[in-house]
């Protein structure tokens, strides 16, 4: 077999945009589209509760049912499976049928494909069992939070151990996670690789639309879940004197909405905060373009795509100083980082940027330049995966 041969690849994922409005797992969707250019690719993913329009039907996407349709809320929701379990304990009842259905579907699809690419620990676990049964190689990609959870959760640690041992290759989306895994599993360090996520560069506007008013516009994008920590941004916003308070748009949906609304009301800053809800991913570039500063206050991340996208749109970044994020957002170069436990520090960093439009422009330009220099496009990501696929299939 030669390296340029088209392979049959099955992508296994619990997050995928199965409706046109969904933002679930958009990066997996990008990977799917990019790999499809040279290979025959299909996706196995859980079904959702929303009916998919026939016009949107893609014959290469296999959705497995696990409970009656209207009860299928375990996957594709903001925050993924952990958030779904936290939000509604009854979802635990779906887990046995979920795993069984995913396993059967994956085994069947594995027989039709040369390789399985699994995303996150749970998919890696199922894919590796299917791989063992059908003798199909598996590449497991860990996307960050699953590695973090393994230090606190026995089940996640078990998934991680199993995947690292059984997968042909293991991929992380950040250098820090690669090093961490290599330290934990020195005997398998040869098969652990770092492949960064890309950005859909042609769709990211370079030109910024200056705000017609003097009010600086802040933006954060992410599921409304505890880990994303939008509460801290809201609290910091309240520290501004009213006369110079910037405007904050929070894009995303999730189980923290009511808590955030209550906080906004309590702080009496309703006029300054817009909870915009979930917005289709294709609309986001316009929103990046029209805002001045991007903020990410997460407690933990893999390698946040929203930061890559905001940088590609020449936005200056204010981000919490955590692993994964600080590989992209470099303090003083293309971003201002803050101590994740300090509202005052976040306020200070935002205020610095609000008062200095030149600094905003220079940090934004540096971010865009970094994306271009590192060639962080989905095409490059796909090339790196293709290389592993070729090796795995030999």
């Amino acid at each position: 077999m030669n390296n340029n041969q088209a392979r049959k690849i099955c992508i296994l994922t619990t997050s995928f945009p199965i409706t046109s409005e969904s933002n679930s797992g958009v990066f997996v969707h990008h990977l799917y589209k990019s790999l499809k250019k040279n290979h025959i690719v299909e996706v196995v993913t859980p079904d959702g509760k929303t009916a998919t329009k026939p016009s949107k039907y893609d014959p290469h996407i296999f959705k497995f049912r696990y409970v009656p349709k209207h009860l299928q809320t375990l996957a594709h929701e903001p925050g993924g499976i952990p958030a779904a379990l936290k939000q509604n304990s009854l979802n635990y009842l779906s887990i046995p049928t979920f795993i069984l259905s995913m396993l059967i579907t994956t085994i069947y699809r594995a027989t039709k494909n040369d390789l399985i690419q699994a995303n996150w620990g749970i998919c890696g676990y199922i894919a590796n069992i299917a791989g063992l049964i059908t003798n199909t190689p598996v590449i497991t990609t860990f996307r960050g939070e699953d590695i973090g959870r393994a230090s606190n959760s026995r089940i996640d640690k078990y998934f991680l151990d199993f995947c690292v041992k059984k997968s042909r290759y293991v991929v992380t989306v950040s250098e820090a996670f690669k090093s961490s895994l290599q330290n934990q599993y020195p005997q398998f360090q040869e098969k652990i690789f770092f492949i960064p996520n890309g950005v859909d560069l042609p769709k990211m506007p370079i030109e910024r639309t200056p705000s017609p008013s003097e009010t600086v516009k802040l933006l954060t994008v992410g599921s409304l879940i505890t880990r994303k920590n939008q509460m801290q941004i809201i609290r910091s916003l309240a520290l501004f004197p009213e006369v110079s308070r910037p405007r904050l748009t929070i894009v995303g949906e999730g189980n923290q909405r009511n808590t955030l609304e209550a906080l906004i009301n309590k702080l009496k800053i309703n006029k300054y905060v817009d909870l915009a809800g979930e917005i289709p991913h294709c609309e986001l570039p316009k929103i990046y373009q029209k805002n001045d500063i991007f903020i990410l206050a997460s407690y933990s991340e893999g390698r946040p795509n929203v930061v890559l996208e905001a940088m590609a749109c020449s936005m200056p970044i204010v981000a919490s100083n955590i692993d994964g994020t600080n590989e992209l957002a470099l303090d003083g170069k293309n971003a201002l980082l803050f101590d994740k436990d300090s509202d005052n520090h976040l306020y200070t960093q935002i205020n610095r940027l609000c008062k200095n439009s030149e600094l905003r422009t220079s940090l934004g330009a540096a971010g865009r330049k970094m994306i271009m220099n590192k060639k962080l496009s989905w095409e490059q990501t796909a090339i790196k995966y293709e290389d592993l696929v070729s090796k795995a299939c030999v």
């Binding site: 008013s213 006029k271 909870l275 915009a276 316009k286």
Partner: protein, 616 residues
Amino acid sequence: MCGILFLKNPNLANDEAESRIRSALKKSVHRGPDEQNFIHVNGTYLAHTRLSIIDILDSQQPIRDPSGRYALIYNGEIYNFQQLRKSLLSHWTFKTKGDTEVLLAGLITHGPEFVEKLEGMWAFVLIDNKKNEIFLSRDRLGKKPLYFSRTPDAFYCASEIPAITELLDTSPSEDYRSTADYFRYGYFLPGTTAYKEIKELLPGHNLWVKPSGEVIQKPYWKISSSREHPNQTQAIEEIRDVFRESVQKRMTSDVEVGAFLSGGIDSSLIVHQLSELGITNLKTFTLGFNSKSFDESAEAKKISSFYKTDHYSSLLTSWNSDQMETIIRHNIGQPFADPSILPTAAISALAASKVKVVLSGDGGDELFSGYERYRARAIMRWYTRLPTSLRSKAEKAITALPEPQAHHSRSLLKKAHLFANLSRRIGSETPYVAPRVHSDASLSHILPQISQEGHCAPGLNLETELGDIEEMMLRDLSIYMPQDILLKVDRASMANSLEVRAPFLDHKLVELAFNLPLSWHRSFQGNKFMLKKTFQKTTPSDIWRKKKQGFGVPISEWLRADMGVQLSELIGSFDCPISPDHARELLKQHRAHKADHGFQLWQIYVYYLWLANKPK
């Protein structure tokens, strides 16, 4: 078709007047990219921007009579100008072959009564230097626009509001009575605009500005609606003849004429008639949509294949919602809430790339009772007799079900939602003026300070002998059609330098259709009976199978995306009568999918766009 401008202000230095005329001309170039001219006659400026359709090499405007006493600027098409020309030959030596000189000669020879002989669409200004009088006229149904403004000393006119604001001494001020009307109906009532100082010449009216400055506006045409006709078979023959003549007249042109073809009944009948008249190689134009709920391009393709037209279709895959701001700023100059102006502009751009003139099916629904709201009104009469508690429970049950995004022609549930909505506002819609966007109660929430304000619709006779549906149809013809449909078509097409002609809106056909008994047009089972009886046997059955659809614009989706973020920023940013708290609440409910407030929020959004762009 063209743009016209008029300025008379004795207090203005010539340099300043000329500069204002030039900048207003610049703002009107899209209406006539072929030629721009202006003249200065005794302190009066007349300017014209031309889209050459007839007598392309000559017929320049402004035009003057040989004595220099009269000067005319005119926007429109007079379809019977050849016939009128012949009748004027004994009085006038013609130098051109176009309709402009015929209009000038007729007005000079016969006076204002000549207007009654015109067939077509027009808006013009004639000055009589000897009598020091200005005479304005607008076509019977209001196809061509004409705005004016006056002060004790000065008088200004223009085809569009963005141009007339360039002529005025000061920026015009918002008319809050009009603002309330806009939120009631989605547009302004005839004769009014968003501005106190700018008025609109009413359709079917002449206007004189006397030397004393006195302004007199009088109707020269009024639709009579006796709803009496002796014989249905004879009426069918008459419809066939008048429609054929109407289409034939509208082929009068020195440039190629095409046709919009949506796949619906009205545009298909026009293509059918053109085929009957022996027109070959007709260019037809359709806009397709991604959403099947709104897409009629397959039906249009079938009709075009049947009549062997040279068919052009464009699929609208993505929307540029920012285009609305451009249209408001450059073409309309005031809020206008009908989002279908965006696809109308898109299909106009497609057609303008191939032809300069198209025929469209506008007016078919108004004349032949095609709207579902007439049926809903009839059902409502029976429904309101049910006990209130029963109605309330039924409406609650409907409202509890999720409202589909689909066009109502494709969804029974959508229809049920619209009906429940109508039931809530029926009190506000009686007596009927035009379809309401907000009921009185809802208006008091969105505009707490000015919800009781508003203009009276001109010529609205609230006590007539007509039935409920006949009244609705008559008012739709005199209010909804000129203020929404015709404004939309004129601005969207002229923004692309395209002339649109509407054969259904020939005044003879209008008079005929409105004199037929309503029961000949519609019943509970259906509508447009007279059109069907007239043309069904001679046309392909596909035309009649299609359910009525409109241009669907996904405003509800936009408002849950980038546009919602923009709107959120705009709310509270202006000193205006909108309650920001109520607007925010509507947006919140809409984003959370608790209700579909898409149209109300779009209306608010457009109003803010206008506030952000209006002359300061």
